[in-house]
């Protein structure tokens, strides 16, 4: 077990280095962020001074190592636009995003796990068809379109929910207020995630139900309920772990769109504004952060896997 975990970590290291290289390479393709400083109000000398201050006069690979060195010191660079440090920008925005992502993940699991298991146990029943059809709808409706529908319904027509932000302006906020603002973004994120999760859990449970040891348990005369809840569910833990692992990158992506629509003051909103103002250090920082989080997520999934399934082999 310890060997397996160590091996997984060792595999992750080159991937991590590769991620930083890709991240840097993508940003280099963007050209020099200096271009944005050019304008009638900036003199040639000022550009040059800025250039040297940013290390932009060095060759590309030197710049990469300069950047990597900074990175290891916890410095993700400074926003070209606001001159604030990227890490402090991320630090300020990550809270709302984590809140949104965490709640959405929980809600989607809360929907998908019972629905997937129900669907698998009652395979080919009317309920199964209904669940599967809804799950397809979940993964087919674009998140932004669903957001528009929800805003139209809950904000415009019914006037129940605020259309954006995290707290009502001019009030002290408070948990209830935040929760009210969160309802729609969470609905959108968890609905689209639940779609694929339901089908994944359904097929995983179906596979478990068709295994020989369950047939044996049934043949021994153990009741259906007991078979499913005692034998099958413990093994269904593995697909649930997988689902969580798979959803981390989806959550990051979904958060960008949902935060933009609902003006949720998180990383996604910050990234979108960085993208539209070509603020490369910020974009780069967010990309790197999310890639590392995804990588760690996969690593943790693999390790949890090993705990849930002792028969797992090194590939």
């Amino acid at each position: 077990m310890g060997k397996y975990i160590l091996k997984r970590i060792l595999i992750a290291i080159p991937v991590l280095i590769g991620i930083t290289v890709i991240d840097y390479a993508i940003m280099c393709m963007a050209g020099s962020p200096l271009a944005m400083l050019q304008g009638p109000r900036v003199s040639e000398a000022a550009i040059e001074a800025k250039e040297i201050a940013l290390g932009l006069d060095q060759p590309v690979w030197v710049q990469y190592f300069l950047w990597l060195k900074q990175l290891l010191h916890g410095n993700l660079g400074y926003s070209i636009k606001s001159f604030q440090s990227v890490s402090s920008l991320i630090g300020r925005h990550i809270g709302p995003t984590l809140l949104l992502m965490g709640v959405s993940l929980l809600v989607s699991l809360f929907l998908a796990v019972p629905a997937g298991i129900y669907s698998a146990i009652h395979q080919y029943s009317k309920g199964d068809y209904a669940v599967v059809t809804v799950s397809f709808l979940g993964s087919s409706v674009p998140g932004f379109f669903l957001s528009l529908l929800l805003i139209d319904l809950f904000t415009v027509r019914l006037g129940w929910l605020p259309s954006g932000g995290m707290t009502t302006l001019g009030t002290a906020g408070g948990a209830a207020d935040v929760a009210r603002h969160m309802v729609m973004p969470v609905m959108v994120l968890s609905f689209s995630m639940a779609g694929s999760n339901i089908r994944y859990i359904r097929s995983a449970v179906l596979e478990i139900l068709h295994q020989d040891y369950l047939r044996t348990a049934k043949a021994k005369g153990i009741g259906r309920f007991k078979v499913i809840y005692k034998h099958a569910l413990r093994n269904a833990l593995i697909p649930i772990i997988t689902v969580i692992g798979m959803e981390i990158p989806v959550l990051f992506g979904g958060a960008v769109i949902v935060e933009q629509i609902f003006s949720w003051p998180g990383l996604g909103l910050m990234t979108m504004s960085a993208i539209s103002s070509r603020d490369y250090p910020v974009i780069m920082g967010v990309c790197l952060l999310s890639a590392v989080v995804v990588l760690i997520g996969n690593l943790v999934t693999d390790i949890l896997y090993a705990f849930a399934d002792p028969t797992i082999q090194l590939d």
Partner: protein, 348 residues
């Protein structure tokens, strides 16, 4: 031509194939599986050599090495006296020679591409190697199918439409299509129904005689192997333990392992029910950690203390010096025959 009559068609010398065993956190080689460990033999044109042994003894690996599916770790393979390893520098010549060395596979269900019609399976290699042309391919295929006893109508069908026996005929046709001189038959009948096995064995025997083929017939039971082979090599854990003319080997097995294999063959005669039989104890050893000395000694009923120390080489069984010239018969056990027993003790 006279030349090729005297030199063996196929000769292997000190052939070794070791597979690395990977392990550790940073994968590195922690050991070797000695699938084939120092094997030498030669085959004259038109000869059939049977290679028998338990699964895992390395007999199939020898077959794959001979047709170039694997590279030997050490040792040489000669085809008509030419070292195959030196030919690799000449891809064109290599390709030509490869077509001369063909293979028939064990499982006729997996040896034919399920997505291809029989026409494509057979015609593509022939056209690629320019053994046939577009305008002659149908005639050539018809002749080929006729040889293996299949009607022309099979060409438009897919592998799944055939029975195991028919598929193996197609497999044989594919091997023959490139006009080979040497064919490795890797347990060609062991996946087939018993009733079909005899038909395929007869077909192979007929084709061998008709086309003057040289066959290496690999099998795990002595029955089928002895039916088609003039000579037999018995393998145990990567090495040949006994080698000789089929009849002589059957009549006077000189190695305890061969004896045990022969005793394991059921005889459908109630009178023979209580014959004294030498049945093997224990499991075949691991080729990753083969026993020291004679590989067979942990299971050997005749094992003596010195068997644990030296690996006995193949040597002539010379129970009767007059016979020696008539039959070739080698064994790796010095105690198999009383005659040779004392001799070996004298030497060591």
């Amino acid at each position: 031509m006279q030349d090729t009559q005297n030199i063996p068609l196929i000769e292997i010398r000190n052939l070794k194939k070791y597979y690395p065993v990977k392990g550790g956190i940073l994968p590195h080689t922690v050991g070797w599986v000695r699938a084939v460990d120092d094997v030498s033999f030669s085959m004259m044109r038109g000869e059939t050599l049977g290679l028998v042994g338990e699964s895992g003894c390395g007999k199939s690996t020898i077959g794959r090495l001979l047709v170039g599916l694997e590279e030997p770790t050490e040792g040489r393979i000669f085809y008509q006296g030419r070292d195959l390893s030196t030919l690799r520098k000449n891809p064109k010549e290599m390709r030509r020679i490869r077509t001369r060395l063909q293979m028939i596979f064990q499982d006729p269900y997996s040896s034919l591409n399920p997505r291809k019609q029989i026409y494509e399976i057979l015609a593509q290699p022939m056209l690629y190697h320019e053994i046939s042309r577009r305008d002659t391919i149908h005639r050539d295929l018809r002749r080929l199918l006729d040889m293996v006893g299949l009607p022309e109508t099979v060409l438009g069908k897919y592998p799944h439409e055939f029975s195991g026996g028919q598929r193996q005929r197609i497999g044989i046709a594919r091997a023959l299509s490139l006009h080979p001189e040497f064919i490795v038959c890797d347990e060609p009948v062991s996946a087939l129904d018993v009733s079909i096995q005899a038909q395929i064995l007869n077909l192979l025997k007929e084709l061998q005689a008709e086309l003057k083929l040289t066959l290496l017939f690999i099998g795990h039971g002595l029955g089928a192997v002895s039916y088609v082979s003039q000579r037999i090599a018995v393998m145990y854990l990567g090495g040949i333990v006994e080698y000789g003319d089929a009849q002589e080997l059957f009549a006077h097995p000189a190695h305890p392992y061969t004896k045990a294999l022969l005793d394991a063959v059921p005889i459908p005669d109630p009178a023979e029910k209580n014959r004294p039989r030498q049945l093997l104890q224990g499991e075949i050893g691991s080729s990753a950690a083969p026993p020291d000395g004679c590989r067979f000694h942990p299971r050997c009923p005749w094992a003596r203390p010195q068997c644990k120390n030296t690996r006995p080489p193949l040597q002539k069984v010379c129970s009767d010096p007059a016979k020696q010239s008539a039959f070739s018969h080698d064994t790796a056990c010095p105690y198999g025959q009383e005659g040779s027993l004392s001799e070996w003790e004298n030497i060591s």
